[in-house]
Amino acid sequence: MHEMSITQSVVDAVCEHAAGRRVREVKIQVGALCAVVPDSMQFCFELVTEGTLMEGARLDIEQPPGKASCRACGRDFTLTDLILLCPCGSADVEILSGRELRIMSMEVS
């Protein structure tokens, strides 16, 4: 259940930047290739924010899809899992997106 620690990291960072202001919403990116389950994060978020400046805030999770580029045929393609294989058969691929785990913005009042 690493989602608990990860959510805790989000809340720590956001509370620090909020500097006493009330947080209404947090936007984060959790890439499809990260080993992080958005639903678990939502669940943990409610627990972790209790009693903080973020209590009652909404967690908006954007999930960038897995995308890769093949160094052999030059094609960009979608990755649904971590098996690095281009449809052309080459395993020489570079992951372009899907590994994001970032706090994008927050809304305070």
Partner: protein, 294 residues
């Protein structure tokens, strides 16, 4: 960490393994109640607000109190009073920063730290016991043991003849850079040491948390099944070396080493792989050579 809900609580417990004392008085006192209204009392409510005054001085004119509607979830009444702040920072930025600090600390002392990860029961501790016995002539060896509970592994490592510190994560399923820093502090490994960090037995969570190690080693055993790399791809994607352990049991189990290697490389093409038996010593020299070269 609290075992019921995974909340912060007292945090992980770091214990240095001594020769004979089993003092059970380490402070596990969960002096908080389980209403959840307690959990974050100790968390920074940011008394250093004043330090940030400069970046939000325009928002100080809010006359209305937000307390009155802090629990109503209607979103439309806040449009005029809110401000969007762009952060664009990594979620694990703090962990990564601490990990880099650990990395610098280790480099300054010429300590080679290896993060050993696996599922429970793959033979990490047995591999370390043999390694300590057979490599300790070359350089000092120290071990950080991560387990949810007990000093059992630390006691085994201690008996093999090296300094060890046990980190009990409680409900936590992995070590993080902060626990690593505390463990380094308690262990104080000698200059030039070889430091093994035996992570919590878990093939999922530890993959995400940089500790400041030089390299990551994943241990799997032939009793676990050939398709393990495909089932737990994140761990194998994060690894520098995979050690396939318990090869003395190959005649008795249905494990295809070649196929397992192929699966692992389909996730992580640059991966190194070794096959060993920590019990019989078969193939173990290749492991020692890898460590020495690392």
């Amino acid at each position: 960490m609290c075992a019921t809900c995974g909340c912060g609580g007292d945090g992980p417990v770091v214990t240095v393994a001594h020769d004979h004392d089993h003092d059970h008085d380490h402070d596990h006192d969960h002096d908080h109640e389980h209403g959840h209204d307690h959990v974050h009392d100790h968390r920074p409510q940011h008394s250093h607000v004043h330090e940030h005054e400069h970046d939000h001085d325009h928002s100080h004119g809010n006359e209305h109190s937000h307390d009155e509607h802090s629990h109503d979830h209607a979103d439309d009444d806040r449009a005029s009073a809110t401000e969007t702040i762009t952060l664009e920072q990594k979620v694990l930025a703090k962990n990564d920063l601490l990990a880099e600090r650990n990395r610098g600390w280790l480099a300054g002392r010429n300590i080679l730290a290896l993060n050993m990860m696996s599922s429970p029961g793959s033979g990490k501790t047995t591999l370390l016991e043999r390694t300590i016995r057979e490599m300790s002539g070359e350089r000092p060896i120290a071990v950080i043991e991560g387990d949810q509970e007990t000093m059992l592994d630390a006691d085994r490592i201690k008996a093999a003849g090296c300094s060890v510190v046990q980190v009990n994560t409680g409900a936590g399923c992995h070590l993080d850079a902060d626990m690593m820093a505390k463990a380094l502090d308690a262990l104080d490994p000698a200059f030039g040491s070889l430091l093994f960090v035996e992570n919590v037995g878990n093939l999922v969570c530890p993959a995400l948390f940089d500790l400041g190690e030089k390299a990551r080693v994943v241990v799997i055993s032939v009793t676990e099944g050939t398709d393990k790399p495909l089932k737990y791809p994140h761990m194998f994607a994060a690894a520098d070396l995979v050690v396939i352990n318990k090869i003395d049991l190959l005649p008795y189990v249905d494990f295809d080493t070649e196929m397992c290697e192929k699966y692992a490389r389909s996730i992580n093409p640059g991966l190194s792989l070794l096959s060993v038996s920590a019990t019989t010593g078969e193939g173990i020299d290749a492991w020692y050579a890898w460590v020495t070269k690392c």
